[in-house]
């Protein structure tokens, strides 16, 4: 049924506003195709791409040069936000139409999170700091009190307490317990650049943070305390981490020249899983919420791979030539009814 709907839409040329029979978690990436870029500062293609079972990677949404991530409102899957170089682009009709909801003050947006209990509360990280909307994205304000090095590529929200946010910045890991009004640094994690934050399901309390040269860090109490983990990653720049939403014992980190490391015991032990990767330079990782244990990885310009056995073997996932800024799953809505 779902595939039939997709095929119909594809036949109609509506790939920019693909819809599903039921809200469905779909693998997506925010990517720029830089490998073929010669004598030019412009990638040969860029934007959001979703992975469809019968079509592989397919462009989704407006064609925009710099897109870093995408997020869907957990309580309303017709509301989709794109983190773009231009700012934040929003759809409120499941991708049928789009609007840039920020102005010239907001640019180089890297990540967006939405309050699962109240979709009016939307938070975004950017190259210039953090912004917040309390009206669903209609208006935005800067929220950087307590943060000096504002460059940020990652922000996440505590699913147990949506007023609590964690953000990785150029100056370390920061926490806010009041929706971003004020921030304090979590000193257990070094003051270097925190590049990616991910957490498991709300019940697990498992969070991962990876850094630029300061290792990977694990929390088992929703980010309240942190311990170093994956020691074999050494001082590499770690760009990627993932926690299996179905089983928080499954963890993965990845980075430059270190490939992928996985753990199946909640971080007690780690295995180097780079054999079979097209490149040791890994930028993004994601576990499939529909398929426990299935791990996707994307390397710099060498495409995606996936593994069903914690990285022991890898299968080609396509997207050769892409630089992936983000890799994850979007719950996209049926908007055709």
């Amino acid at each position: 049924m779902m595939l039939t709907t997709i095929r119909t839409l594809l036949a109609l040329g509506l790939t920019g506003s693909i819809a599903f029979a039921q809200p469905e978690s779909v693998l997506f990436t925010a990517a720029a195709f830089t490998k073929a870029q010669k004598n030019s500062s412009i990638p040969t293609d860029a934007g959001i791409f979703i992975h469809l079972p019968d079509k592989g990677w397919t462009p989704y949404g407006p064609k925009i040069q710099q897109v870093a991530s995408a997020s869907v409102d957990p309580s309303d899957s017709s509301r989709i936000f794109l983190a773009c170089g231009n700012g934040i682009v929003r759809s409120t009709d499941g991708g049928q139409s789009w609007r840039m909801v920020t102005d010239w003050r907001v640019s180089d947006v890297t990540a967006i999170v939405i309050d699962p209990t109240d979709g009016k509360n939307v938070y975004a990280a950017s190259g210039w700091g953090l912004v917040r909307s309390l009206d669903g994205g209609d208006s935005w304000e800067s929220i950087n009190t307590g943060i000096d090095e504002r460059f940020s590529k990652t922000i996440t929200l505590d699913p147990r307490n949506p007023s609590r946010l964690l953000v990785g910045t150029g100056g370390g890991l920061f926490e806010s317990t009041n929706r971003g009004n004020k921030w304090r640094r979590i000193k257990a994690v070094p003051a270097g650049h925190v590049l990616r934050l991910r957490h498991g399901n709300a019940k697990s309390g498992v969070w991962l943070a990876v850094t630029e040269g300061h290792g990977a860090w694990l929390s088992t109490n929703s980010g309240k305390t942190w311990q170093p983990t994956a020691p074999s990653a050494g001082d590499a720049n770690l760009y990627a981490c993932a926690v299996d939403p179905q089983n928080a014992q499954n963890l993965a980190v990845g980075g430059w020249a270190v490939g992928v490391l996985t753990s199946t015991d909640g971080g007690k032990t780690w295995q180097q899983r780079s054999e079979g990767l097209p490149s040791p330079n890994v930028l993004t990782l994601a576990y499939d919420p529909n398929n426990p244990g299935k791990l996707w990885a994307a390397s710099f310009e060498e495409g995606t791979v996936w593994s069903q056995d914690a990285g022991a073997t890898w299968q080609d996932g396509g997207l050769d030539g892409a630089l992936t800024n983000d890799l994850g799953f979007l719950t996209l809505a049926d908007n055709t009814r």
């Binding site: 870029q37 412009i42 710099q66 102005d103």
Partner: protein, 625 residues
């Protein structure tokens, strides 16, 4: 080349000053000549060739309309280039309006509805983007958001664009431009502002844009030597570093002030089509080199995303660092510099010497040195890319970025100090730095190049004598031994490489601690080149390399200079006061940081642009003379 319309050439002061009327008449003649010449490059039989500037011009003139319509559709079917598509499209819509038919408008309208251009990552991008969307939204003043690529209505797009444009004017006139004094990137600034001057219907924005255009042109005029943008630059390409007359600024100098020779350039075309007439005062400032002068400017770096450093300052919530510019301008040359360090990503020219040529096209009338530096630190300071990918990605378009042979670069291991016609460069390059050497460019157009046993290297460029004393002896290499320049940065940058890129030499001096003295002089001040050589060799000069490079040098006029790497230099024992550096300071322009006000002066004329209230006051005071 067109003759008979550029009567004011170079630095030679006219026998009698031109009247304002004569200046205006000559400008209009050049304007007409440029349009006429630009039209000749349209080949109406070739539907595959011709950009939007040419399309706009032909629609404006009502010429080759079949060709223009075909090219309009080709260039609008799948737009690329973001703001570089937007602004000539807006030019087409406004200048070409009399000859655009309903079908043309439908094609254009659909492009603005569907093509989602990137806003860019630097000031020239943002200015072009917002000037263009503003003007487009004035043409269709009442459309809903569904009719625009970004989902915002015409009114919303105008309001946002106007707010950005006025804020950018406020920042620039208070703290200087981040992308300062670029000989080629003056093109988008002049283009965007001139579009607003020519066609904006909002009186406030149109007026402020006109004032801002005057500010930009003044910025060029005071560091103009024979139509060439001299001194230190935020951004420059190899082609323009080696042959400065190929930059957009020189094309503008011909159109605006009659300097040099006509060149076809997009921003000059927009000026010509817009109806803008520059104030005659600017031509006097650009061309009067009857007395040598020092001109100083406070500028700033681009906004720093990361690694801003302890000396960064914050303006409007964004981090930047001060750039202290210094230029010494005579009738024969312009020696100009900044203080060194990482002031701009990728394309910084920390200092340069340019000598006057009446017809500089085809000549490499410049001399400069640099430490070829690249790093992820510099890349991530200004761009959002990751540490491990940023250098690679930069080099996709700036192919010489991580080359040891490159000819423009900022370096955190460089400190430069200038006093009038003397410049001292000092270097402290840590172990492990990729390229621990200095490249000093020696043009093929220098004469009398002499390596003296004393360690000085002497040469003559035009009517300027050059003395260069490297602290550590180096070796000569050709500029084009890697072939990098021939392939780099897109065709428009590398085209004609064999004409401009070959035959020069680079003096390569390698040492962790290093430095040099540059002493320039006007040929007329000496009986002969030999006399200059002897005079320089007799000057008191000491240097040492340990623990850091330090030098003491007494200039040709007896001024004692002392500089030590990492310390504030001194002039006759007095420390240079960087804290008091003015936004503009010289005989032709004065401005105080933070005031949003600049005063232009020439002779008995004073013109004050007050960006706070939008007032312009021009006074003539005969008592000043």
């Amino acid at each position: 080349m067109v003759t008979g319309v550029g009567s004011v050439h170079g630095s030679t002061p006219p026998a009698a000053p031109l009247s304002d009327g004569e200046i205006g008449f000559a400008f209009q003649a050049r304007r007409a000549a440029l349009i006429e010449q630009y039209l000749t490059r349209t080949d109406p039989t070739n539907m595959e060739r011709g950009g939007l500037h040419d399309v706009a011009l032909n629609f404006a003139q009502g010429t080759h309309l079949e060709w223009a319509r075909s090219r309009l559709r080709a260039l609008t079917a799948k737009p690329t280039g973001a703001m570089f598509w937007m602004f000539p499209m807006v030019l087409t819509m406004h200048a070409g309006e009399p000859h655009l038919n309903d079908d043309d408008w439908a094609v254009i309208r659909e492009a603005w509805r569907t093509y989602f251009p990137y806003r860019g990552d630097t000031e020239n991008h943002w200015l072009m983007y917002y000037a263009s969307i503003y003007l487009a939204a004035e043409i269709w003043p009442d459309l809903p958001g569904s009719e625009w690529y970004n989902g915002k209505s015409s009114a919303e797009n105008r309001a946002e664009a106007k707010e950005y444009l006025l804020e950018s004017i406020r920042i620039t006139t208070a703290y200087g431009r981040g992308e300062y004094d670029s000989p080629n990137y003056i093109d988008p600034y002049v283009s965007a502002l001139t579009l607003l001057v020519g066609w904006c219907r909002d009186p406030e924005l149109q007026h402020k844009a006109q004032m801002m255009l005057e500010f930009e042109l003044l910025d060029f005029a005071v560091e103009n030597i024979g139509g060439i943008y001299g001194g230190a630059h935020s951004r420059i390409y190899p082609k323009h570093a080696i042959q400065p007359s190929l930059a957009a600024s020189t094309a503008l100098a011909w159109l605006l002030w009659g300097q040099g020779e006509m060149q076809l350039n997009g921003s000059a075309l927009i000026v010509a089509l817009s109806g803008y007439t520059p104030p005659p005062l600017l031509q006097h400032i650009a061309t009067d080199r009857s007395k040598p002068y020092v001109h100083r400017e406070l500028r700033r770096t681009r906004w720093r995303m990361r690694h801003a450093g302890p000396d960064a300052v914050e303006i409007a919530g964004l981090k930047t660092k001060a750039v202290y510019k210094y230029s010494y301008v005579t009738a024969d040359y312009l020696l100009g510099s900044s203080q060194g360090g990482l002031l701009q990503p990728i394309q910084q020219q920390t200092w340069s010497h340019v000598w006057h040529e009446d017809k500089p096209l085809g000549l490499s009338n410049t001399f400069f040195a640099l430490h070829p530096y690249f790093s992820a630190l510099e890349g991530t300071m200004y761009f959002g890319a990751d540490w491990d990918t940023v250098v690679d990605l930069i080099a996709r378009s700036k192919v010489d970025y991580n080359s040891p042979d490159k000819l423009m670069s900022g370096s955190p291991h460089e400190q430069v100090f200038q006093h009038e016609s003397t410049l001292i460069g000092l270097y402290d390059i840590p172990a492990g730095t990729d390229f621990p050497h200095i490249n000093t460019f020696f043009s093929r157009d220098l004469t009398h190049r002499t390596e003296d046993d004393s360690g000085w290297i002497f040469a003559q460029g035009g009517e300027s004598y050059i003395a260069y004393r490297p602290f550590v002896a180096g070796e000569w290499r050709p500029t084009d031994w890697t072939g990098l320049l021939a392939g780099g940065a897109g065709a428009w940058i590398s085209s004609g490489h064999t004409e401009w890129g070959t035959g020069h030499q680079v003096y390569v001096s390698e040492s962790p601690q290093n430095g040099y003295i540059v002493q320039i002089a006007t040929a007329d001040d000496f009986d002969s080149f030999e006399a200059f050589v002897n005079a320089v060799k007799a000057l008191p000069f000491e240097f040492s390399l340990s623990p850091v490079a330090t030098a003491s040098f007494t200039t040709l006029d007896g001024t004692k200079l002392r500089a030590t790497y990492g310390e504030t230099p001194t002039v006759n024992g007095r420390r240079v006061d960087y804290d008091a550096w003015p936004l503009f300071d010289g005989p032709f322009a004065q401005a105080t940081p933070g005031r949003n006000e600049v005063t232009l002066r020439h002779g008995d004329t004073q013109r004050r642009l007050n960006f706070r209230d939008g007032s312009i006051n021009t006074t003539i005071n005969s008592d000043d003379e």
